[in-house]
């Protein structure tokens, strides 16, 4: 789960990290009113999207007055913002964050990230090497220093002093930086964040280290114990992602829409990736990625099958299932049978069932009266589906 900048900052502030004064606005009028109420002359208007590279693409702009803040908000809200991290379609801006402009003399990079290969939590720091009011767009941090953190229960320890001492800062500033880095690490652990990136962390004229921008990604698997964050997602409408994919997720199905014309029904992420590879090899183009999780019931599977059948681009459906110990062929056959009974399926369905309860699954499909084309192995099935889709397209 990705948090927006304003959410991330509010959370970091709870761990003692200073943030500039600011407020969220959902319209030009709100943006102007916020700037006026907080007494800002010069302020920064920041598009709230789950992507970096905003400053370089007009998503973070300096306003000289509340009136101008309103004008900038009007230009940003309701339009997609395209950056090097959003993809070509960009991300729709629904909110802007209006924040006091902070003059700084030094700009640093800091992040706490999970290194999946090493199985460790790392603190990464760097120097942006710029000063001013607006961070330099796309400013690369160098040199990057890396410190391994240690978790014991809820406590996190590491050589924060060492990390803070590498930037030639005055001793009192270095000591303050060490404190801020420790607070960042505390926040990462307490929030179950897989990534917290503060870039930049700036040194102000007053000698304070302030979080000017922050990105936080929270581990979805830990939301059960981060009920405030889970509630934030449910309640605020700030949920990111495709609504169809999120609905499938609630049905225990990992589903991603792709650009092709062959609907794909598979159990297990590995087999699903293998199926995409086989389809490409056979000259077919998958319309989706699907991984039926072990926890999906036949009704969940019916829901997912209906997503595929309802996709007007789909010219053939490939069912490639290897029944395992937890998700058996018959459950998936039931799901398909229910879906076809309920909503029909115009496209031909190629089915390959193997593994646990394969024969039982095939018998279930027959008893539902679902017309299927049976394939002996997954390569035959992929070839057949590709042929059918091509023929239909011609």
């Amino acid at each position: 789960m990705n948090l927006h900048e304003f959410q991330a900052k509010e959370l970091l502030a709870q761990f003692g990290l200073p943030i500039p004064r600011g407020r969220i606005g959902g319209s030009a009028g709100e943006a102007e009113a916020v700037a006026r109420r907080l007494g800002f002359d010069r302020c920064v208007v920041k598009a709230q999207v789950h992507a970096g590279g905003r400053a370089a693409n007009g998503g973070v702009r300096l306003a000289a007055s509340p009136t101008q803040a309103g004008r900038i908000a009007a230009e940003l809200i309701g339009r997609p913002l395209v950056t090097n991290q959003t993809g070509p379609a960009g991300q729709q801006v629904r909110w802007v964050y209006i924040e006091e402009a902070v003059e700084f003399s030094r700009s640093l990079y800091s992040a706490v990230v999970v290194d999946r290969s090493a199985g460790e939590v790392l603190l990464i720091t760097g120097d942006h090497g710029d000063a001013g009011v607006m961070p330099r767009p796309g400013g690369a941090a160098s040199p990057a220093a890396c410190v391994k953190l240690r978790l014991s229960g809820d406590r996190v320890t590491g050589d924060f002093d060492g990390a803070a001492s590498t930037y030639g800062l005055e001793p009192d500033v270095a000591a303050l930086l060490a404190k801020r880095l420790a607070q960042l690490a505390d926040a990462a652990v307490a929030l179950d964040a897989t990534m917290i990136e503060v870039s930049p962390l700036v040194l102000t004229q007053a000698g304070e280290l302030v979080v000017l921008d922050a990105k936080v990604t929270v581990d979805d698997n830990a939301l059960f114990r981060q009920s405030d964050l889970a509630a934030l997602r449910e309640a605020s409408g700030f949920e990111d992602g495709d609504p169809v994919e999120l609905a499938a997720d609630r049905h225990q199905i990992n589903y991603l829409k792709l650009n092709g014309d062959i609907g794909v029904v598979v159990n297990g992420a590995g087999l699903a990736l293998a199926t995409l590879d086989l389809l490409h090899e056979a000259g077919g183009r998958p319309a989706n990625f699907m991984d039926i999780r072990t926890t999906a019931t036949s009704l969940d599977i019916a829901y997912a099958f209906e997503l595929i059948a309802a996709n007007p681009r789909v010219r053939a459906v490939l069912v490639n299932v290897h029944g395992g110990g937890m998700q058996r062929c018959d459950t998936i056959a039931d799901g398909i049978g229910i879906a076809v009974h309920r909503s029909g399926c115009a496209a031909p369905v190629v089915v390959r069932l193997a593994g646990n309860n394969a024969e039982f699954g095939a018998a279930r499909l027959k008893s539902y009266g679902v017309p299927v084309i049976e394939a002996a192995d997954m390569w035959e099935a992929a070839k057949r589906a590709a042929q059918l889709a091509t023929r239909k397209a011609a």
């Binding site: 199985g119 460790e120 240690r150 978790l151 992420a269 590995g270 699903a272 293998a274 199926t275 593994g355």
Partner: protein
Amino acid sequence: MAVLAGKDTRVICQGLTGRAATYHVARMVAYGTRLVAGVTPGRGGRRHLDLPVFDTVADAVAATGASASLVFVPPANAAAAMIEAIDAGIGLVVCVTERVPVLDMIRVRQKLAGSLTRLVGPNSQGVLVPGATQLGVMTTVNARRGTIGIASRSASLTSEVVAQTTAAGLGQSTTIGVGGDPVHGIGLAQCVSLFLDDPATEGIIMIGEIGGSDEEEAAALIEEMRPGKPIVALVVGRNAPPERRMGHAGALAAGKSGSAAAKIEVLREAGVRIAPRADLVGVTMRQALVS
């Protein structure tokens, strides 16, 4: 012979009294696994599936001499259960739990360092020694005792490759699911190393996918060892949409090093035979064994 476990391995199940554990443990007992006890805090002294239940792993080990534990505990307490098993000196811990928080797994990894425990999982289908013992939730319908060691990041593809190696007349010595999570216990490299030392294993199959560095680490090990046994690899995800979550949190194309193409390249350079398609893994291994 096999690796990690055998028919005499005495196994306890943490979380035995839960619904999923009850279902799967009954199947394991039927398969021949020597289940000796269960552990559920607060349920000590009762019996479940005709097995004694203890409050702690230490109590269960003291009473039964178990050397392996199967963790069937829900995500919120799975890490604590693994750590308890490590503290009790259990030699093999297999965790099937899905969706364990990643920081919890880092806590577990820190506990594992320097311990005597080997951890398989989490989010793993487990370890199967066909005809001898089943520690996990995999299907056994197509498994046959044989000579191929299978190490895999994917439960569904393991079932598939088990069926293929059985159809090829080879069978399996042991199958190990390292689990689909980004931070896990033993990796593909350690599995390869175990299989190389196992006289019953004549060939090794690795099943990898995009993301992470398990395959690269295995390639480095193979490059260094120059083993005499044939090793075949299947790496899936060449056509996965880039940088998107694909079910396993682990299956993320994290930069160039994690791509399927890059993994295939380093494995090939290390002397590993690459299965050209997912349906040809068994055939590729049979060819490798005769050549």
